[in-house]
Subunit: 321 residues, 2 copies
């Protein structure tokens, strides 16, 4: 472990931060000792997941909320895991220019993450990146994702609070919300509130909310914004802060935190076991052989996995202990 | 194992099929012996993943393709993992009526799947459901998903062939496609081809395709349809069949099949290990304790997981062998 890199991260140096996050993203074994040490310095950062369909204005809202928190003197991190985000590469010119001006601010750290090829899932990697940013002293981290799909839901659930962005004229998309995001939204934002149909989206969300009762007793507010003009941002920021205060006082949320932590440990355990399994070269060859035999229908995959686990170093090591 | 249930599935009885799939979906240990036996009867079914944004007309196209294959006398299965699909519950009246008429056809089996709460991931569960349908003698299975998010991509990749549905006027969505679905699409369909902007979508996709060269040498065709009127369905079905023939002759695809199978076995191994871990009651208590200690920052989660794995029955059992 490089003491300079560790100190750099702990003192919030952006170059050190970027270097360590790259190690974390690459699942490098080098990252592990840092994560272990840094963990003790975490627990202060508040994380907000921001999700919505492509084109709903997530990046513009993230940009405006960054302004909101910067005016309060807060240190702010942004993680973009949305392939359409200007922060992660897919964007039109105006967005890119805005992003660049933001990235010159020494109180704002921006990191985009690739959405594919993470061993053990993107949600875990995002969790580890959050750990590093937390230890580096950020007050707030905003995580931007496209709001459909299990993996996005998992990522958003690594955040303390989830903001769901809606826009007028979504039509069928409200159906999708019902099925998935409705349950996880702590704050709703109707963006592009000057477009026709804003009243309808607002009314639909409120109607859906009135039919459900959350276990924690919180009623998600519906805030209207025109993010591109900075309108409604103060109200949006206040809604986030109100929800944060509510959660911090809530017994339900303290208990939920333990349940979430248990899930994280299990997820970590699963990844750890797989890594240990693959470290053994003989297993790799065995795996190719088993793949061929199962494809030929000489063997079913469930029996194949038992063979594989029986032969693994994990078990052998354990037997030698 | 119930011999009647097994025979029912193997002879393609829909009630037996539905019963076994429910066991599979619930991750019931009862399902395992059936999956082991049925596996030897698989390998004949061809699977097509159909994906696209909400409102792009996936269900209507699925319905029309069902007609296409039924006219050829094929036995057809449909798995809907799209929360906006009429098959999985979220739909407008017209869709529901169409679904009901289709579900009366004895040559078509429809199954919708919940998108949350699957231990080990929805993709694995979908894979097991496919296994059962394959063994039950279906010629074709269509899998319908909403096309954003890692989990959806994983599900689609359990299919032999992926069809991506586009509609005119998507705007920003093409950006999303570029980042994710573009790489996995084997056939493109521009649906609602009578809407303004159809030429533009068509041209954009072709431009993107001309910039990339697939490793297998296949050039994904772009087919135009008006699924609601049954137009272009024949061409769409032919495009699927051409791609299927190409893949079956391709050395690249034979090799890829082995790589995919290795991934599946590893994924199965990971789930198996986790299940074995949780079977031990003492581990459950240990886990709650570790969650509390890590939340208090007395211990980092990585060391916690090592403690957990060290205490697991998996290791103990191995040591006793």
């Amino acid at each position: 472990m490089n003491a300079e890199l560790l100190d750099g991260v702990l003192s919030g140096d952006f170059r050190a931060l970027a270097r360590l996050i790259t190690l974390v993203e690459n699942d490098s074994p080098e990252a592990m000792p840092y994560l272990r040490v840094l963990y003790r310095n975490t627990g202060r950062c508040f994380t907000v997941g921001i999700t919505g369909a492509p084109g709903s204005g997530k990046s513009t809202l993230v940009d405006q909320l960054t302004g909101f928190y910067r005016r309060q003197g807060k240190k702010l991190g942004i993680i973009a895991v949305d392939p359409t985000s200007p922060y992660s590469g897919g964007a039109i010119l105006g967005d890119r220019v805005r992003m660049q001006s933001r990235s010159l601010d020494p109180g704002t750290f921006i990191r985009s993450m690739a959405t594919r090829g993470h061993l053990g899932g993107l949600a875990r990697t995002t969790g580890d990146v959050l750990l590093v940013m937390d230890a580096a002293g950020f007050d707030i981290v905003l995580i931007e994702t496209v709001g459909v799909g299990q993996d996005e839901v998992d990522i958003v659930q690594t955040a303390h609070l989830t903001l769901v962005l809606l826009v007028p004229g979504m039509g069928d998309d409200i159906q999708t919300m019902k099925a998935g995001l409705m349950e996880i939204a702590d704050v709703f934002v109707v963006n592009k509130a000057d477009h026709p149909g804003a009243d309808r989206v607002d009314a639909e969300v409120k109607a859906l909310l009135s039919m459900t009762q959350r276990q924690d007793g919180w009623t998600p507010p519906v805030v209207r914004t025109i993010a591109s003009q900075g309108q409604g941002i103060e109200e949006c920021g206040q809604a986030i802060e109100s929800c944060r205060e509510f959660m911090q006082k809530s017994k339900f949320h303290r208990e939920r935190t333990i349940a979430v932590q248990k899930d994280r440990l299990l997820d970590l355990a699963r990844t750890r076991i797989l890594q240990e399994l693959l470290r053994d070269r003989a297993i790799e060859e065995r795996l190719a052989d088993l793949a061929r035999r199962t494809l030929a229908r000489d063997l079913d995959p469930f029996s194949a996995v038992e063979e594989l686990l029986g032969a693994s170093r994990l078990r052998k090591t354990a037997a030698e202990e």
